[in-house]
Symmetry: C2
Subunit: 506 residues, 2 copies
């Protein structure tokens, strides 16, 4: 037996070739029992076609590991392997999970701040286009990708996929008992490629944009598909599970109790507890993300002012993956300006959530980034990347919006502000006071004060000035605006879309 090694958080894979009659996708149960010292992890294996069975592990600790397989099929039972897990490769931080209630972090302790984008069916396009998408992502600055397993039928998405996920019956529909193994292998290759770029793959398991029957599989086929997907993909450290895009438009064939069961299947089969969520369509009918099997809130909503309320209501990290997209198509969710996208990103972040990007510029060739990838044409991505750098620079425990820190809602319903440790951020949007002091430190000190132009991407030192003198504003009032007086103020240039960063000099 060769001396097998795998780096921590990479994929260990064990393969067994065995001749099994019938349809092993339907009939064969096969497990791998991995051991490290006294610890045991039992993970589902899967059939990969042509007599090949596989079981995978993402080891989370260095040292000596062993594998023993379990199956009712003799050839798949009691097979063993031993391997050594070495240190994680440079830049590999492990899977992302929830940290500090409203935030995320990698397994190695590095904070993870999602700045995601969306290319729903990029893995179903031509090889050339997929290569171009990966090349774009190398430098675009995004660290999460929403992507579907199934192909997509929708405006601007009328092409056939390169590979269907299940075998074609030849009449435009598929046989959902017969996976196309090449399709799954290809999908996981692209998930791995994203992992190599430091990008989390937010995998959309079901969706309603369908002409081939994927949305009409039987419950049994749905459950089997889900178990199979988890068995194949859970060992990839960058996997997130998004049960559906716009799950509410699938309720006609998949009632609410099925969604509960889907979440449970993820829990039963994924030993790593990758992040699980679900995405809704109707902005007024959010999924009840308080349910215990939901790890973080995924939301589609343009009114990002409500971010702090959603966060409070659900008590979990919040990602608004569709605050509407930069573009110019007729669909209203896909035609806002880059300026508005950047504005909504800053608002969302400083109200304690995280925002997601998408791009929908109409094109003769129907290659819109949001669905197919390719290249980016918009003006928001570089501003989002600039923003990501700013927040990663001082990320510690995650942002707490001022609405949660102060008793008074004013002025924080208009000026978005948040704090992480000793660093505070203010985002003024359409507000452009020429002096600001509310929410600044109550005691003077050696603060770095920086004006961030969120659109022009500049960071300029702010001038410290005396805090404006309080004048009672109303009958009976003793303090201005309900906030205690700050020790000082800052001068601002009277322009919109500015942010202010206040941090103790280190």
């Amino acid at each position: 037996m060769p001396d097998l090694t795998v780096a921590r958080y990479d994929v260990f894979e064990h393969t067994i070739t065995a001749k099994v009659d019938g349809n092993p996708y339907l009939d064969v149960e096969f497990w791998g029992v991995f051991k490290h010292a006294n610890r045991t992890i039992r993970v589902p294996g899967f059939y990969d076609g042509e007599g090949v069975f596989k079981v995978r592990l993402m080891p989370d600790i260095e040292g000596e590991w062993s594998l023993t397989t379990e199956s009712d099929v003799a050839a798949l039972n009691d097979q063993t392997a031993n391997f050594t897990v070495t240190a994680a490769r440079q830049g590999v931080h492990g899977p992302v999970s929830v940290r500090n209630k409203f935030h995320f972090g990698y397994a190695d302790g590095t904070p993870y701040l999602p700045f995601g984008t969306t290319c729903y069916v990029w893995t179903h396009q031509t090889q050339e286009l997929q290569a171009q998408t990966l090349k774009t992502l190398e430098t675009a600055g995004f660290n999460k990708m929403r992507m579907c397993v199934f192909p997509k039928h929708y405006p601007y998405n009328e092409n056939e996929p390169e590979l269907h996920v299940y075998e074609s019956k030849g009449d435009g529909t598929q046989d959902f008992d017969k996976p196309v193994f090449d399709a799954f292998r290809h999908f996981e290759k692209q998930v791995a490629a994203l992992g190599d770029l430091g990008i989390e793959a937010d995998i959309i398991i079901f969706h309603p944009y369908d002409r081939w029957g994927y949305a009409d599989m039987s419950p049994e086929q749905d459950y089997r598909y889900l178990r199979y997907l988890v068995a194949r993909l859970a060992a990839y450290r960058n996997v997130w599970w998004s049960l559906a895009n716009e799950y509410d438009f699938l309720l006609n064939t998949k009632p609410m109790e099925m969604w509960d069961r889907f979440f449970q299947i993820l829990e039963e089969n994924d030993p790593y507890r990758h992040l699980k969520s679900i995405h809704q369509g109707n902005p007024e009918l959010l999924y009840n993300h308080r349910r215990p099997w939901v790890d973080h809130v995924c939301i589609q909503h343009p009114d990002v002012q409500r971010t702090v309320n959603w966060r409070t209501d659900f008590g979990k990290p919040l990602v608004n993956d569709e605050l509407q997209y930069e573009g110019d198509i007729i669909q209203t969710w896909g035609n806002i300006t880059a300026e508005e996208v950047v504005h909504r990103f800053w608002l969302t972040m400083l109200k304690g959530g995280y925002a997601g990007h998408g791009e929908t510029y109409s094109r003769e060739d129907d290659v819109l980034w949001w669905a197919k990838g390719g290249v980016l044409h918009g003006q928001s991505p570089k501003r989002i990347a600039f923003m990501r750098e700013i927040f990663e620079e001082d990320a510690k425990n995650g942002l707490t919006p001022f609405e949660e820190i102060y008793h008074s809602g004013y002025p924080w319903s208009s000026i978005a502000a948040a704090r992480d440790g000793e660093v505070s951020y203010f985002y003024f949007g359409a507000h452009r006071p020429v002096i600001w002091s509310t929410g600044l430190p109550l005691e003077d000190g050696d603060y770095e004060l920086d004006i961030i132009d969120t659109w022009n991407m500049t960071i300029t030192p702010a001038k410290k000035v005396a805090a404006p003198v309080s004048v009672p504003t109303r009958h009976g009032d003793v303090v201005r605006g309900g906030e205690p007086d700050a020790a000082f103020g800052v001068e601002l240039p009277g322009k919109p879309n500015l942010a202010l960063r206040v941090r103790l000099r280190r």
Copy 2:
């Protein structure tokens, strides 16, 4: 007796000089009974100082009128006068009242669309500044003014008024049993001056910005002041009653039952039923405008997307008088850009409400338009005037937002749209589709299609194009976006802050 004449909707005034002992402001009841044919209107008279008593009428119909006075004071009882009411002067349309549930109209049937501004205490500034304010208003394009009876103490408002409303006790407080008649005469002169400019005077009766004791008058003094104000001012056709600015910050001295009583005193004393409302401070604690004595909803709120919901909830015309002001002061309600003001005006209007303006640019001399008047420095007023022209051109019954016309909320939660008769308006804000068809007519016809650039103030014919072909968007969907397909589309230039007007060619 001279042959008295007064034009319809102007003020008829009858004066009696009589020596009355004591304090006639407190002690004398005095009424005028006006008759036209078999119709009788009984209106309160008032004491105007130095033995002068007056009673006023705004006659609403042409013809012969008579007056007989009533009082327990003999000299004020059974006095008579006759007068002739002639046709209304050119440009005089009478008082404004509610029309078509959510809208306003003048007594002569002309639609009235409020495009108001705010100079809270302009009548308390120097004569020069007041003259300048009126001169500015001649061409500014506003047709409503929010203004306080009492002077104001607040940041940027630390000067003493030219005249106090009650006699000074010499210790910084006033004797609220002794009116300064010159102050009231001056106030009504300025109300009349606004009327001559076609501007409604939205008179703010109480407010909490006080250092002189106005906010601490006894209930008896409050009630008497209110009756006196109505007796003096109700005959001015352009009067609106705003019980308070930020009434909720006065609840410590004036509990809720007093506000009910204030409304009732207006009802009991104002024979013309001028529009009555009340303005709140806390954006989350709106006054219950469903109460029967409220004519229209006055609101202070930056989240103008909610306009259609407020309108539905209260079932009355809605005026958002403070959607935040153009300016650059530290107070968040007073530092938004002109662009944002114009944006919120369009949103408010196309969601079935009306918007109000204010301007708060910080100045060395503390002369901010919002409080003191003077000249306008901002960029929003001319865009608001441009907008007013557009909507007055086709005003008929008032706008109904598409949310109330169509069953589907999409896309009307993002694209504001409304219809008045056969004219439809769409406002795209940060959305800039290059083709639009949703909500356009279902049958083709000879439509004028105009693109309105709300910021650059241009109106350009739009190119009619084929409506985009429907592709089912989702599993089970038959129509795109839940709306029936329009007969045609329009090409748009891909810029933000555009509006589209669709009207049948006349």
